[in-house]
């Protein structure tokens, strides 16, 4: 099996052999719900950070008991998975005020509505600022310190500055490897598809990082030599929040729109910015997590707009698809602003509303096909 195949397989299921091996050796796994959780702290504690997904969920019957029909479907599926015991491999859970849906999901855990696999189960809700300034960075450092201490107290471990520094190096390595992968996507014939990239990023959040970095290096060697796809109809940028279904991207790509870059949670936003390795670990982490390219939970729209426009240029994007989970207010307004800005500068842009499970396939096909035709018509008119 190639490295890419291994990574793709890892992303297909909620848990995977790497996690099973980790657990068999007595390792702890800490789930986290958002890219604003500093994984390095969990890693430095000798534990495995696991980015929460609901992969494999087929319904929300149990999750709906503690949510509503106006709750985002990712949260409903994830709650459902939790109530079915699908996350029993976790030893703890960390979240933050990513959005109204996630904070209430955490409340359900906090109120003990979910049977914890272990007792006492570690639960932590981080108070991450929504603004980007010196005061917010200082608060974030204070918050990370509290997070570190709570892990130490709960699991009776010590997280040294050296361990944190080493974790920062390990996670920066991951980020740099992913950036190398994105460099390949700038080619006229990118040797990797958007769906494969999404699988790779998902895998990187669900396995020991050293193991991932090794596989990633192999994978880069493998794909660098590949003949890339050049028969696509348009180069697309995929923008949005939670999207953990490579099948969704593949569907778009099968219609001829090659996804060459993104602005997603499982994507650029979570790895693009590095942590300064030469500074004290906690202040460096605080600075990176507050100043990183943001999502709409942060008061930072102009900078996001510039970032997207730069990516469009760098990756020679022909069109932007914004995928937005229904009932997500943050991405609802953000997608409107992205579309308004795209129109101003003449970039074709389409906003797709979706649910966690890709169900309305016919409608999706029609809209993507029409969008690709629009791009082609615009290109032929140039």
């Amino acid at each position: 099996m190639t490295a890419l195949e291994q990574l793709t397989k890892t992303a297909e299921t909620l848990t995977n052999p790497a996690i099973e091996r980790w657990k068999e050796k007595g390792g702890k796994v800490i789930g986290y719900y958002c890219t604003y959780v500093p994984e390095e702290v969990i890693h430095a504690a000798g534990m495995l950070p696991y980015r929460m997904r609901a992969t494999g969920s087929t319904g929300t019957e149990l999750g709906d008991v503690y949510s509503s029909h106006l709750t985002c479907s990712f949260v409903r599926h994830s709650l459902d998975q939790a109530m079915r015991g699908e996350y029993n491999f976790l030893d703890g859970l960390v979240a933050l005020f990513s959005c109204d849906h996630i904070r209430r999901l955490f409340d359900v855990w906090r109120y003990g509505k979910i049977d914890f696999p272990y007792s006492p189960f570690y639960l932590r809700f981080l108070s991450v600022p929504s603004k980007i300034d010196d005061m917010a960075i200082e608060w974030m450092a204070h918050e990370i310190l509290g997070f570190k201490r709570s892990l130490e107290d709960h699991f009776q471990v010590t997280i040294t500055d050296d361990a944190l520094h080493q974790s920062i190096i390990t996670y920066n390595e991951r980020r740099n490897l992913l950036k190398k992968l994105y460099e390949l996507r700038k080619k006229k014939a990118p040797p990797i598809t958007g769906a494969e990239v999404l699988s790779t990023i998902i895998a990187s959040t669900a396995m020991p990082m050293d193991e991932f970095n090794q596989l990633m290096k192999q994978m880069l060697d493998e794909v660098s030599g590949r003949d890339g796809a050049s028969d696509y109809r348009a180069r697309l940028m995929l923008v949005g929040g939670e999207l953990e279904d490579p099948g969704y991207v593949k569907f778009i790509e099968d219609l001829g729109g090659l996804v060459v870059t993104d602005f997603q949670c499982f994507g650029v936003r979570e790895f693009w910015d590095l942590v300064d390795e030469s500074s004290e670990p906690i202040p460096a982490l605080a600075k990176r997590y507050i100043e990183r390219i943001s999502c709409p939970r942060m008061i930072d729209q102009p900078r996001r707009d510039s970032f997207i426009k730069n990516m469009v240029k760098e990756f020679k994007v022909d069109g932007i698809i914004v995928q937005r989970m229904k009932y997500c207010d943050c991405w609802g307004c953000e997608s409107a602003m992205i579309a308004w800005e795209a129109k101003k500068v003449g970039i074709p842009c389409m906003v797709l509303e979706r649910e966690y499970l890709t169900v309305a396939v016919g409608q999706l096909r029609t809209r993507v096909q029409a969008f690709l035709e629009t791009i082609e018509r615009a290109q032929s008119g140039r």
Binding site: D329, C330, S335
Partner: protein, 418 residues
């Protein structure tokens, strides 16, 4: 500017007429107070528009803005007022926002504001102040307002857990940052003696409000729904003599009723804690519930643990203002964990002697939606009957009044039969 805010100018005339009609009628003091207050606020805004005084959009208490002689405009209140005359008054703004690409499932407060701005139905801001709470809708729709108007925008961002070490200082820092922001963009310097005067005036208003809410704990309820509306009052004219005067009239109204032994409804059989704001376009819902024997002593539009501010030093005053912003109705319940909201609901049931809880589930309030299951379990464990139904506070097309009223009626019938 198609109509120069014609709807609100018509409203202003209505408030004037109402005052003329009700003047001297002891039994209509509460309505009179409300009309006076809204008239004063709208007149100020129109004067500011004409005089070019900078308008500051702000859904938090306005003392700092008044002290700098700027014009606060609480956008949500601006949107709500026309609904009292025309239940469909905001549909055009909501539809405009949809057509512009705003998600249909966004809270209609955000949609109508964005739409009203696009339709020029609301005066544009020179500056925008907004909290990052109680919900995603507010945080993101105010970013859209900033985007559309290019007005400088300042967000007040509290820590999630306000009881955490350093949280109060961080929050105070946010408030001090707001003063710097207002000074920078208005070119004015805060006069702290003037601020003290404004805060002392708002203290007088709050003092009356707290007394009104205390008297509303009486059983049977002495004053009908007209006494409610704290959220509007506080956020439009707090710090102005008219705010104090209006709230004093409300207090006099309830005291007079108690003296005269007049009750809100003839035969109080059940007390319902309405733990969201009143449905703004359903003007006579409290009277309609009253006909069934149901009194509503408090909604979370009035529920607050707001306190009087110590004005003895600049620091105590700023701390008090910062704290007051956190304790505002809705902002208090919406920030942080679900326990804030549910805890307040249980407290309201106890203090205002509620027999049941009614939750009008506003379509836009995702932060409440995610707490449905926990609220239901909590009420069930305590034997508190609970009704939850879907509604949109600004858009009656979502759930027509006859539909939700039928559910309320069934529920109250069941509660009364217990």
């Amino acid at each position: 500017m198609a109509d120069k805010y014609e709807t609100h100018r018509q409203l202003l005339e209505t408030y004037k007429r109402t005052q003329a009609q009700l003047a001297g009628d002891e039994r209509q003091k509460a309505r009179l107070a409300q009309a006076k207050m809204h008239q004063a606020w709208l007149e100020q805004i129109f004067n500011s528009v004409e005089m070019g005084r900078p308008i500051v959009y702000s859904p938090v208490y306005p003392e700092l803005i008044y002290a700098l002689d700027l014009q606060p405009l609480f956008p949500e209140a601006w949107e709500l007022l026309p609904l009292r005359q025309d239940m469909y008054a905001l549909c055009d703004s909501i539809d405009t926002a949809h057509e512009a690409g705003i998600n249909a499932d966004l809270c209609s407060f955000g949609k109508s504001l964005i739409g009203s701005l696009l339709r020029r139905k609301i005066p544009p801001p020179a500056m925008i102040v907004a909290p990052t709470f109680p919900c995603d809708n507010l945080k993101i729709s105010y970013q859209v307002l900033g985007y559309l108007t290019q007005a400088p925008t300042y967000f007040l961002d509290p820590p999630y857990w306000m009881d955490a070490d350093g949280a109060q200082d961080y929050w105070l820092g946010q408030f001090k940052g707001l003063i710097s922001f207002l000074e920078e963009h208005s070119g004015k310097k805060m006069d702290y003696d003037r601020l003290k005067e404004v805060v002392e005036e708002s203290n007088r208003m709050v003092d009356h409000w707290l007394k009104v809410m205390e008297l509303r704990k009486m059983k049977p309820l002495p004053q009908g729904g007209i006494g409610l509306g704290g959220i509007l009052t506080g956020q439009t004219v707090a710090g102005l003599p008219i705010g104090t005067e209006a709230m004093k009239m409300l207090l006099d109204d309830i005291k007079g009723r108690i003296e005269r032994k007049e009750m809100a409804i003839a035969n109080e059989r059940v007390r319902a804690i309405w733990f969201h704001i009143r449905i703004p376009y359903d003007r006579d819902i409290w009277a309609w519930m009253g006909e069934m024997g149901a009194a509503v002593p408090v909604t979370f539009g009035e529920y607050s643990s707001i306190e009087l501010i110590d004005t003895s030093t600049r620091e105590t005053m700023l701390k008090g203002l910062a704290q007051r912003a956190l304790e505002m109705p809705m902002l208090r319940q919406g920030r942080g964990a679900v326990s804030n909201w549910i805890g307040d609901c249980l407290h309201a049931v106890k203090e205002w002697q509620g027999d049941c809880v009614i939750l009008a589930g506003h379509a836009g309030c995702k932060w409440i939606r995610g707490g449905y299951g926990i609220l239901r379990d909590t009420c069930r464990e305590r034997g508190i009957p609970l009704l939850m139904f879907d509604v949109d506070f600004l858009d009656p097309r979502v759930t027509p009044p006859e539909e939700y009223r039928a559910r309320i009626e069934d529920f109250l019938t069941t509660v009364m039969a217990r």
